[in-house]
């Protein structure tokens, strides 16, 4: 007589659908090597800051008018320097850590949820830090030498809260776009990436064509111009959410390499 060993378990019966332990361990797995999410972004930011400081010192030394220099620093993109790296982090989370987590017995669902928690935490951390550094830079009048790195682009105009929200949303968007695009590869491999690429190009062309032929461009520009700062943040947040949900749906049937 043989019986089937079942897993209709003890603990599963009463447990809720939301398995906190199973999701949190993915956060820990992604953070077990903290260099990836926390070390490198700050090294990049630190490097960019050091370059900015040296530049400011050179300019002061050369006797450049610092009022104009401050204005010039506003156009520096240095504050956004970790973004490109974080796209790669999003890609690698799915390309490598996902395969590994499956080997360790995680479900795809728990992996994606845990990774999303990690993304939110990292984005919040970056946002708090950058928004605070903007304030510090303003307080110290450019780190006492008139250098400007954080108080640039749209930063430092609408207060700490806006700087926080905009960085948070941008960070989330960047991470989720990287991760969800990679889920396409993990599920449909190269063919999937081709379809995604050509599909996106075709969609853009169709959009441009239809807007041009219907003469709707002025309306589009008006809509964009009419967007408030908060409106822009909401658009970014919506895009991040779409990427997150799409990635979740795709990864549910993805297979590791």
């Amino acid at each position: 007589m043989t019986a089937v060993a079942t897993a209709t378990a003890e603990r599963e019966l009463g447990a809720s659908r939301l398995r906190v332990g199973e999701i949190w361990r993915i956060v820990r797995l992604l953070a077990v090597n903290p260099t990836i999410f926390f070390g490198v972004p700050w090294m990049i930011l630190g490097g960019a800051w050091a370059v900015t400081m040296v530049l400011a010192l050179i300019m002061t030394g050369a006797g450049a008018p610092m009022e104009e220099a401050r204005e010039g620093f506003r156009y520096s993109w240095a504050v956004l320097s970790p973004q490109w790296y974080l796209v790669v982090v999003g890609v690698q989370a799915v390309a490598y850590t996902f395969s590994f987590a499956l080997g360790f017995g995680s479900t795809r669902r728990d992996f994606w949820l845990g990774m999303s928690v990690m993304f939110v935490l990292v984005s919040a951390e970056m946002a708090v830090a950058i928004a605070t550094l903007v304030q510090l830079e303003q307080l110290t009048d450019g780190w006492w030498i008139g250098a400007g790195m954080f108080d640039a682009l749209w930063y430092g105009q609408l207060g700490w809260g806006f700087d926080f929200l905009s960085t948070f949303v941008l960070q989330l968007l960047v991470l989720f776009v990287g991760a969800s695009a990679t889920t396409i590869y993990m599920r449909w491999r190269v063919r999937g990436m081709m379809v995604l690429l050509f599909g996106t190009v075709a969609l853009v062309l169709v959009l441009v064509a239809s807007l041009t032929f219907t003469g709707s461009w002025p309306a589009v520009w008006a809509w964009l111009a009419g967007l408030t700062s908060i409106g822009l943040i909401l658009v970014g947040l919506a895009a991040a959410a779409v990427a997150a949900v799409a990635g979740f749906l795709v990864i549910r049937r993805a297979t590791p390499r």
Binding site: A3, T6, A7, R25, T35, L102, F104, G105, R253, T255
Partner: protein, 301 residues
Amino acid sequence: MTSTVVRASGLTKRYGSFAAVDRVDFALEENRIYGLLGRNGAGKTTLMQLLTGQLFPNEGELEVFGRTPAEHADVLRRLCFIAESQRYPEDFTPKHVFTSAPWFFENWDAEFAERLIADFRLPVKRRIKKLSRGQLSAVGVIVGLASRAPLTFFDEPYLGLDAVARHIFYDRLLEDYAEHPRTIVLSTHLIDEVANLLEHVILIDQGRILLDRDAEEVRGQATTIAGARSVVEEFVQGRPIIGREGIGGLASVTIDGRLDREERIRAAELGLELAPVSLQQLIVHLTGADLAGATEKEVAA
């Protein structure tokens, strides 16, 4: 009473028109050591990926601990599968692997893992990418052993391991298995290396199961009869032949099945030599049949 841990019927995984696993039926019982044997590309890894829910089957039914493995956390937490070509997160070191393992395997024995790390002399702070093939295999072996998962897979554990390390794996596995019985699936194409470990053999070739039998039975299952060609041919007439070799007037034929006492006496009288067939030889006979069969058919005809 034995429990069935895995039950598969008609299980199929296709890539386009190629069937990596082709309508296989089998079951795995609790607390046994299985050898999943076969040549490179036979479908061993695909089969294990199906069992661990990493791949989705195209057809057939599969139950692991009573339900489909894919996306079922209650099944997956009882499994451990570090693939031979396992991908690790960027810049991972063995230390990271062993730090995170206890979060995923509830029976993880950290002390045992430490001992194995010392035994295998694994450099835990070296990046995984920089490890040698043998050291990489050791990472998988250590996770597999120390996790003590109720269903543990070892995918080509011997790949690149030196003689000492192979011996360590062999010893530790048997020791630990005796104390903590569990179901173990060992996939390998290095058959002689693991032959003595196995309690049950599943032989897979071109996505199909050729043999699914108790290892003891398999060991005594085939016999090689050698002697003068004509005498041998006459003796094996009507028996299931799985291999033929010959030089000049001499022939050596391997048959599937045992000889009883009477037959052995008759063989001795005819001046034939009988030899048992090792697991490896038997498997070469079974899976290399195409090659051997093609040349021998002409001779027979």
